[in-house]
């Protein structure tokens, strides 16, 4: 027997008696040497001593020491006929043998023999070993075998049980290797098996399988319902071994209820009636007095009950059941047991989203608010907040928001930010009048300013700007709020923005005259961080426009050394530009430039996006969607974003209105030699980014399902930059190309604080439709480390060889496990044909000579298109150089035209290219002409280059 064997190992090693670590290591070294000499020895060991030494090795390994021998002996044990020897062999193998071992064939053979042996204990051991190792290799070898054992008529119950669980394990590790076949229908009938253990194991298996292939296992519903009803209606003594503290087969019941949650409510009225009956019985039983005072009894009973409630919520079709479930949960809300209260709150959250039970949930509002105030466990309070959020509607919004606000002052730090977001959303969604909304948000900033994220105050401003009826009130309120001696920076931001826009609405009152407003804001100026100060500077210039009388004061401030010579570039630039603007421009121009912000386009609330991000995609989203559908007609304000919003990015709204001004390329024009300066656009875009609250486009890009994000055309003309970014991952690129070869460094940055597991990025060349047979690009990579620590970055090098010209860029597929879920990201790698461009210098004469040589109509491609960007000569030049061709000066008789030449290198051929770009400034149009010796190359290059201007 196993115990005595392990004990023998311990007795043989006596590690327990060692006083220190050093002594232990010495003892183990000695024992290992002994075992080595025994294994090496000439005379063969008998089964018992082999078992003994293998067992000792296992024990030493489990103590944390490396073992690098004895595998062969362990494999030999597998072929023994004694149970104990076989068992130790299997134990050693499942713990110590890795999948790429040479012994794997021998092991697989031994397992096959045991599976075929018809000896139930041996079969059990073999199945356990397969399941414990559970590797892909195991799945490859046995995924066909195990289902046969499972459905064979003469298999023993215990083996069936093991086989079901083993198959489940294999299916979880490598679902693609488990073949679906006729065994599936027979597995379903295991739900009718006599042996409850088999049924329990089979239910687990079927639930997992049904989640992937619901159609194939549809028949399991009726079987599960009948099995469930038999269990539920049975007396507590009927099931003997499977009755746990007077609850009949609780585990099986829970599993069956879970299985049923994979499917919609059954259509057959008989089955449906029977299920409803079951659920009612379960709810009834909850009301009965407990049969035992033991905690296990109530735990088991409640587990079944909660699973039944989740099923009711999942079906969401029986109003009667829903209301009963809600009432049952209501009772739990005041239960002594903390776990029960937690679970009740959690389930109620989902109940609240059902139209049948929403009203019923609302009746518990006082209890929930009470829970929020008195509950000792923070996780329970968190659930209470969730529930309040879920049950909120127009009728109780005022009360709930007020409660949440008052709770916020004492709330636990960890959940403050979430409460703030929720209050902000509720206040906005159910606002009866916007004055109340503004008050609430300002209160929010006052109470928990640190937790008010950018999105919240962006949203206030969006709303205030879009509704003229609150603007005056908002200006007055922020003015009053700013009077407080110490106010939070976020309040200063809101105040600065609103006064800058609508300060004129309250300027009539002498208590808030322009100068008073300015002085009030400026008194906060020096205590603020740089971004806030930048915002305040914008406010000041807006004041210059609104109130000409304070212009000198503001100019003085701007002229001060602390602004004009500020160490921060952003502040300095703003000060210089605003000062110039205020002195140079006439009032008309000022009024035009600094006009009031136009209303924002309506779209999904950025706060909501933020909350979704915080909670993870699944839970809140659907709740949100259903809730929003209900509230659309009630509330005109925040229209839900159209579903297509994610594909067409809404125009990035620039809240400050001024972001665009510094964003224009004011920097020095790029020198003609520097190809790197091409990315002025992206630079200015990133400089403007902190001002632009429209950055929630990022959140939307959060890919729940793999979607190839368009590998930007901005990479056509440059080699380095950020390729992709979402909440979890950032991918950066650095690449270099030489003739037909290239090397790309891809940097994967983990933006979260948790590890990514199984991180596998694989670049795949895509074949164009024209040639499925051969590849145009050869990509070579080394696999990267499969775990990426939080905040860490890993690098991957891709070697690229261009075989022939191509159009489709390769795709980078990234898979990894984050938290519990698999993430899939696909990005187009910016490897385009022009990367293999080598510039060629030539004289005007040469150029035109070659140009004429390439006069064949297939060789020329021309495209006339409208300019997408401002037509700046220097930028265009830089782009052509960045594109890869040489820029030939003084070739074209018209100096406004651009002419380039170069050679595209591929492994098979070299293609000369000539290009000519003729801008037409009046019409804002370009004409691009390309002549190359190869038609496809001309086509592709023309496409690529046209996108750039």
């Amino acid at each position: 027997n196993k115990n005595s064997c392990v004990e023998a190992g311990i007795r043989g090693i006596c590690v327990g008696r060692c006083k220190s670590k050093e002594a232990e290591i010495k003892r183990i070294n000695k024992e290992l040497a002994n075992i080595r000499s025994k294994f090496k020895g000439d005379k063969a060991l008998d089964g018992y001593s082999k078992k003994k030494y293998v067992c000792k090795l296992l024990f030493i390994f489990l103590l944390g020491h490396d073992i690098d021998f004895g595998h062969m002996e362990a494999v030999n044990l597998l072929s023994s006929n004694r149970y104990t020897e076989k068992q130790i062999g299997y134990l050693f193998i499942s713990v110590l043998v890795n999948s790429n071992s040479e012994l794997i064939r021998l092991i697989n053979n031994a397992i096959k023999n045991d599976l075929a042996s018809r000896n139930p204990t041996f079969m059990g051991l073999a199945l356990h070993c397969i399941a414990n190792v559970g590797s892909r290799e195991m799945a490859e070898a046995f995924a066909g075998e195990v289902p046969k054992i499972l459905v064979a008529g003469d298999t023993m119950d215990s083996v069936k049980q093991s086989a079901a669980l083993c198959l489940l394990r294999l299916y979880r590790t490598s679902p693609d290797l488990v073949p679906m076949g006729d065994w599936t229908s027979r597995v379903v009938h295991l739900l009718n098996d006599q042996h409850l253990g088999v049924v329990t194991a089979a239910t687990s298996l079927i639930t997992t399988l049904a989640q992937k292939n619901p159609e194939e296992f549809k028949t399991s519903v009726s079987l599960a319902v009948s099995r469930l009803s038999r269990i539920v209606t049975s007396a507590s003594t009927d099931l003997q071994d499977y009755t746990y503290y007077f609850v009949p087969a609780p585990w099986l019941s829970v599993k069956l209820l879970r299985l049923l949650q994979c499917y919609p409510p059954p259509e057959d009225p008989a089955v449906r009636g029977r299920l409803t009956e079951c659920l009612e019985t379960i709810l009834n039983k909850a009301q009965e007095p407990p049969k035992s005072k033991k905690v296990q009894h109530s735990n088991a009973k409640n587990a079944v009950l909660f699973e039944a409630i989740s099923l009711i919520i999942h079906h969401d079709s029986e109003p009667n059941l829903l209301v009963r479930a809600c009432n049952q949960l209501g009772q739990f809300l005041q239960h002594r047991e903390t776990n029960l209260r937690y679970l009740a709150l959690e389930s109620m959250c989902t109940l609240a989203s059902s139209e049948f039970s929403h009203e019923a949930v609302k009746t518990h509002i006082d209890t929930v608010i009470n829970a929020l105030k008195t509950e000792r466990d923070v996780s329970v309070r968190q659930r209470a907040v969730d529930l309040l959020y879920a049950m909120c509607d127009r009728s109780n919004a005022q009360q709930i928001v007020a409660e949440m606000l008052s709770y916020l002052e004492t709330a636990d730090y960890s959940i403050r930010e979430e409460i703030v977001l929720k209050v902000a959303i509720l206040a906005e969604k159910y606002a009866v009048d916007y004055a109340w909304y503004v008050d609430t948000i300002l209160n929010l900033i006052r109470i928990a300013g640190d937790y008010v994220s950018e999105e919240v105050w962006y949203r206030v401003i969006q709303i205030v700007i879009n509704r003229d009826d609150v603007q005056g009130y908002a200006a007055k309120t922020v003015f009053e709020a700013l009077q407080a001696p110490a106010c939070h920076e976020n309040l200063v931001k809101v105040g600065g923005y609103i006064l800058g826009e609508f300060g004129n609405l309250i300027a009539g009152d002498p208590r808030s005259s322009p100068l008073v407003q300015f002085n009030l804001l400026h008194s906060k100026f020096h205590l603020c961080s740089v971004p806030t100060r930048a915002l305040l500077l914008s406010t000041y210039i807006k004041f210059v426009n609104l109130f000409p009388e304070v212009k000198p004061t503001i100019q003085d401030v701007l002229r001060g050394d602390s602004q004009l010579r500020n160490a921060d570039v952003e502040l300095q630039q703003r000060a210089v530009e605003y000062l110039r603007l205020s002195t140079v421009a006439s009032t008309d121009i000022l009024a035009t430039v600094l006009e009031e912000m136009p209303p924002f386009p309506e779209r999904e609330s950025s706060i909501l996006a933020k909350l979704k991000k915080k909670k993870g995609p699944s839970t809140v989203t659907d709740l949100e969607d259903t809730k929003r559908e209900r509230s659309v007609d009630v509330n005109g304000g925040p229209e839900p974003a159209p579903a297509s919003a994610s594909s067409t990015p809404s125009p990035s709204a620039d809240l400050l209105g001024l972001g665009a001004a510094p964003a224009a390329p004011t920097g020095p024009p790029p020198s003609s030699g520097g190809g790197l300066l091409v990315d002025v656009f992206s630079d200015s875009a990133s400089a403007a980014a902190p001002l632009a609250p429209g950055s929630e486009d990022n959140f939307r890009a959060f890919p729940k399902h793999p979607r190839i994000s368009a590998g930007g055309s901005e990479f056509v003309c440059k080699n380095n930059g950020v390729l992709f970014e979402n909440q979890l991952l950032q991918i950066g690129l650095k690449s270099e190309f030489r003739q037909n070869l290239g090397r790309m460094f891809i940097f994967y940055g983990n933006k979260t604080s948790t590890q990514f597991l199984n991180f596998t990025p694989t670049p795949v060349p895509r074949c164009g439709l024209d040639s499925l047979t051969r590849t145009h690009l050869n990509l070579q990579t080394k696999p990267v480390d499969p775990t990426v620590d939080g905040g860490a970055q890993v690098q991957q090098v891709v070697n690229i060889e261009c075989v022939s010209d191509f159009t489709e860029a390769p795709v980078l597929n990234i898979q990894f496990r984050y938290g519990g879920t698999f993430q899939n990201v696909s990005v187009q790698l910016p490897i385009t044909l022009n990367k293999f461009f080598q510039p060629t210098e030539m004289s005007s004469q040469d150029f035109f000579q070659r140009w004429k040589q390439l006069s064949n109509p297939q060789q020329e491609v021309q495209n006339i298109f409208k300019a997408k960007h401002p037509m700046d000569t220097e930028i265009t030049k830089a782009k052509i150089i960045g594109f890869g061709s040489a820029l030939l000066e003084e070739v074209d008789p018209n100096p406004a035209n651009f002419v380039g030449a170069g050679i595209i290198h591929t492994k098979t051929s070299q293609t000369g290219c000539l290009l000519r770009l003729e801008p037409n400034l009046q019409a804002q149009m370009y004409r691009l002409t390309l002549r190359t010796s190869k038609e496809t190359v001309s086509q592709r290059l023309c496409e690529l280059l046209s996108q750039q201007f």
């Binding site: 070294n29 294994f39 090496k40 021998f69």
Partner: protein, 448 residues
């Protein structure tokens, strides 16, 4: 400054806990919700969990946990840890810990759990005396022994008390007045440990000697001593007067890289004249510590020869040569030849001494009791290996050696030690002086 000092046994149980500053008590307060009483012990627990019971052996003597630094030394199974939150001089802390070990050893012999438990009152008394608010104080064993005794509380007379006070706070805190010996005697030990790393071809990769001069003095009164050795700088300075002496003794002098002295040595005099003069404490003390790296006499040369015969066999031959005067005898020689981790059997033949394969240490240990200079000895071994499925190659760790020789490998010679006692009537000639040189191996390794 040191915030506290803890002594643990090997299980991590606290034997001695002395907290000097409050700041170390509260650092883990923010993270865990402990009651205030357990808070006081949190640094104690932190060290146990993170160092003594650490999964991986902690090799760094300084560990930082929750912005608190733990400096530890280990003596047999006992851990001594000094704890601080401040940016303290680590060398000072370790110096103090070593001194603390010396003091404890001087009071009750070997530092063991048993001895610490038996003397815990004494240890607390010592800790009160040698550390004050975390600042190290007088830790001179001789001086401490005059007022901290193992005889329990001895009530002192006022006179005695004032005498102790004046001595401890006076200029010469390490020696009391009125010591008298019938026979004035002193012992001088030059103890050196030589460290070496040699390539298989016999090239010296690194070598240095760290030495100590330990003195045991039984002298009456307040004697003034002057110590002279063959320090290069001193010899050269003197050599300026007489040119011929320089050429004669130039070869004999040694270059000392750095040295430290006992507190009794007058540093100003050393700085200006490079002469070492002092009033010694009574009994045993360490006069100086030094390090040299040039012209080291390597007492032994190890010549390894390792041949791999196929995957399952290894032949090792090691020759050692002694490299000093034939009249001298080296003692306690031990050569340790590491064996691969998959060794399954070893046969050894050696010309001299005894050799044995020690499986528990994964090494062949060859011991020779005595060996004269300019001799040579050899060992050969056949190692059988068990084929493993591990493709890692054997890293071939270096062959290490231990020995003891009766000379100083650095070449240091004591030139004189003069004693002056102007008040009492004994002169330098009346003092009996003993000088001894012992050279030991430190880390003495040869790669193979």
């Amino acid at each position: 400054m040191i915030g506290g000092l803890f002594i643990y046994n090997h299980k991590g149980e606290v034997l001695i806990s002395r907290v000097y500053r409050d700041d170390i008590g509260s650092q883990i307060a923010d993270s865990a919700l402990f009651s205030s009483s357990s808070l006081r012990h949190s640094p104690v627990d932190a060290f146990r969990v993170n160092v003594i019971h650490a999964r991986q052996q902690v090799r760094s003597p300084v560990t930082n946990i929750a912005r608190t630094s733990f400096f530890h030394v280990k003596r047999s199974n006992i851990w001594l840890a000094a704890v601080t939150k401040q940016n303290v001089n680590a060398a000072m802390v370790f110096e103090f810990l070593y001194k603390m070990c010396d003091v404890m050893a001087a009071y009750f012999g070997k530092i063991s759990e048993e001895n610490i438990k038996n003397n815990f009152v004494l240890i607390y008394e010592l800790l009160d005396e040698i550390l004050d608010f975390g600042y190290p104080q007088n830790s001179e064993t001789g001086a401490l022994k005059t007022f901290i005794t193992q005889q329990g509380i001895k009530s002192q007379t006022k006179e005695e008390q004032s005498q102790i006070t004046s001595q401890v706070t006076g200029q010469i805190g390490w020696r009391r007045e009125g010591i008298k010996y019938r026979r004035n005697e002193l012992f001088l030990d030059v103890l050196e440990s030589v460290n070496l790393l040699m390539s298989p071809q016999g090239q010296v990769l690194s070598a240095h000697v760290s030495g100590r001069v330990v003195m045991k003095s039984y002298l009456s009164g307040m004697p003034e001593c002057k110590f002279g050795m063959n320090d290069k700088i001193v010899i050269e300075k003197q050599g300026k007067g007489t040119a011929d002496e320089t050429s004669k003794s130039g070869k004999q002098s040694i270059a000392i890289d750095d040295c430290t002295f006992h507190q009794c040595v007058r540093l100003s005099k050393f700085d200006s004249e490079r002469s070492i003069s002092f009033i010694p404490p009574d009994g045993e003390f360490e006069l100086m510590r030094y390090r040299t790296t040039k012209d080291i006499i390597l007492p032994f040369r190890v010549i390894p020869l390792v041949r791999e015969v196929g995957r399952t066999k290894l032949e090792v031959k090691v020759v050692i040569k002694s490299n000093f005067k034939p009249s001298l005898l080296a003692q306690k020689i031990e050569v340790r030849i590491p064996t691969p981790l998959n060794t399954s059997g070893v046969q050894v033949i050696c010309m001299k001494g005894k050799a044995k394969y020690k499986a528990s240490e994964n090494a062949i240990v060859w011991k020779i009791k005595r060996m004269a200079g300019m001799k040579e000895s050899q060992i050969s071994a056949e190692i059988e290996l068990l084929p493993t499925n591990d493709k890692k190659k054997w890293a071939r760790p270096p062959i290490s050696m231990n020995f003891e020789v009766p000379f100083a490998p650095s070449g240091l010679k004591v030139r004189y030690l003069k004693v002056f006692e102007p008040k009492l009537n004994y002169s330098d000639h009346d003092v009996i002086k003993w000088v001894r040189y012992i050279g030991r191996s430190g880390i003495y390794e040869t790669r193979c």
